[in-house]
């Protein structure tokens, strides 16, 4: 089981180039999870102790907007990383996540990984580099969304 997880993690683009000893540590904090359709993975404001690699399915990152209800800001699917609130205090989810399709994922214990990163800063640096890439990608995408590129020309 542990070996299978190491295999999946080691092959994932996100962890490309990560030393084998670190893959083992990361795998030690991971488990397989499944969610049904329209199932809540986490709620805005709850403790952010985990993050996920989506292996199959589609997940909406959402925010409760008064008068509008839950509004999808973005979706993440196969191969994507879900959640980085576990990395930064106060370790609370800024947004909620709900499946739009049945979803399979790897769930990582963020609290456990934070502890490992404190013990070994090289591992911390490797993980932060990778999450910074994801955060940058999302920021770029959000900026493009804000441009409303497909709207009628001014």
């Amino acid at each position: 089981m542990r070996q299978a997880l190491e295999g999946i993690i080691g092959e994932h683009l996100f962890f490309k180039g990560l030393e084998e000893r670190y893959v083992k540590i990361v795998a030690g904090c991971a488990k397989n999870v499944r969610f049904g359709e329209r199932e809540i993975i986490f709620r805005e404001g709850d403790a952010a102790d985990q993050f996920y690699f989506i292996r199959e399915g589609l997940v909406a990152v959402e925010l409760m907007v008064p008068q509008r209800g839950f509004t999808t800001l973005q979706t993440v699917g196969e191969g994507d990383v879900l959640g980085w609130s576990w990395l930064m205090p106060p370790y609370r989810w800024r947004f909620g996540a709900r499946t739009l399709q049945p979803t399979r994922a790897l769930a990582f214990d963020g609290k456990c990984l934070r502890g490992k990163c404190e013990e070994d800063h090289d591992l911390g640096y490797e993980l932060l580099k990778r999450f910074t890439f994801v955060v940058t990608e999302r920021l770029e995408a959000t900026r493009l969304q804000l441009l409303d590129l497909y709207g009628a020309p001014a």
């Binding site: 739009l100 399709q101 995408a141 493009l144 969304q145 409303d148 590129l149 497909y150 020309p153």
Partner: protein
């Protein structure tokens, strides 16, 4: 740098390139709130109209003006052809008020086509956003009609909202085929929307194609294409395998007036479809 003007072609440049021919509206269908498709046929029923995927026509609404619009129909159909456009000015607004039997002037077809022959034997990845799907639709008709000549065919399409998705029925039909990978995303979802939300260019990174044997076709807002190119290059796709349809203010369509100058080229004559390595040095430059 590869020569910019190498792929210039001269279709539509007949004896009277500035003289529109009359075509009858067969059908006008509203696609979304601000887009519509008109179907045209020659006034003389014996005539035919041939074009290549990616080419455009100059459409003249009598008494209002003339605009360049890409051809959006099946290139195999030589009896009629279609244009899908957004209402953005007086001419397209006037065109949207026309009805079956009305006549418009047509000059064309003009411009360079999508490289559908060059793409044979390879994966084809199409990235498009908004109304940019219209000029790629003829290419999709061609690719699906000649499916056996291509490896994977991937369409990544971004729209503003679910209500702004063009050609819904066709997308659903194509998606239901097992040999086409179609992914649609919207910038803003609605409560009823159960699909992807996010910008289309983020789909390139995980889309199923082999960068060492693929051709990418992109059409949409120029900013979208800039990010699409970056993503393709990050995947390892060479610049000579990326094709973009560029847009500028085209007036004459035959390279006389200079309105659509793009560096050393004219979009109307040398484009609109460019191989990316040929425009790479000037692409994205604010001064061009």
């Amino acid at each position: 740098m590869a020569p910019l003007l190498e792929n210039s072609i001269t279709t539509g440049l007949g004896v009277e390139p500035m003289l529109p021919k009359p075509y009858c509206i067969q059908r006008l269908r509203h696609e979304t709130d601000d887009t519509f498709t008109i179907e045209l046929a020659p006034e003389n029923s014996g005539e035919t109209f041939s074009f290549l995927p990616g080419q455009f026509n100059m459409l003249y609404v009598f008494g209002v003006g003339e605009v360049p619009i890409s051809i959006s129909s099946d290139p195999q159909d030589v009896r009629t052809f279609q244009h899908t456009t957004r209402i953005v000015g007086a001419v397209t607004r006037g065109m949207g008020h026309l009805k079956k039997g009305d006549v418009v002037g047509v000059r064309g077809p003009y411009g360079t086509p999508w490289p559908v022959q060059e793409a044979e034997g390879r994966d084809v990845v199409i990235v498009t956003g908004g109304i940019g799907l219209a000029p790629l639709r003829p290419a999709l008709y061609h690719l699906t009609a000649q499916r056996e000549k291509y490896h994977k065919i991937v369409l990544l399409y971004g729209a503003r909202t679910p209500e702004d998705i063009l050609y819904r029925r066709e997308l659903e039909r194509w998606r239901s085929k097992f040999d086409l990978e179609i992914q649609v995303t919207v910038d803003r979802g609605t409560r009823a929307w159960r699909g992807s939300v996010g910008v289309v260019t983020t789909m390139i990174g995980r889309s199923p194609f082999d960068p060492s044997n693929a051709v990418a076709l992109a059409c949409g807002p120029e900013v979208m294409m800039r990010f699409a190119v970056m993503e393709f290059q990050r995947r390892g796709l060479a610049s000579e395998n990326i094709y973009l349809s560029m847009e500028r203010n085209m007036k004459c369509a035959v390279g006389f007036c200079g309105h659509c100058q793009y560096g050393p080229a004219f979009i109307c004559k040398d484009g609109p479809v460019f191989r990316f390595d040929r425009i790479e040095p000037i692409f994205g430059k604010a001064e061009i």
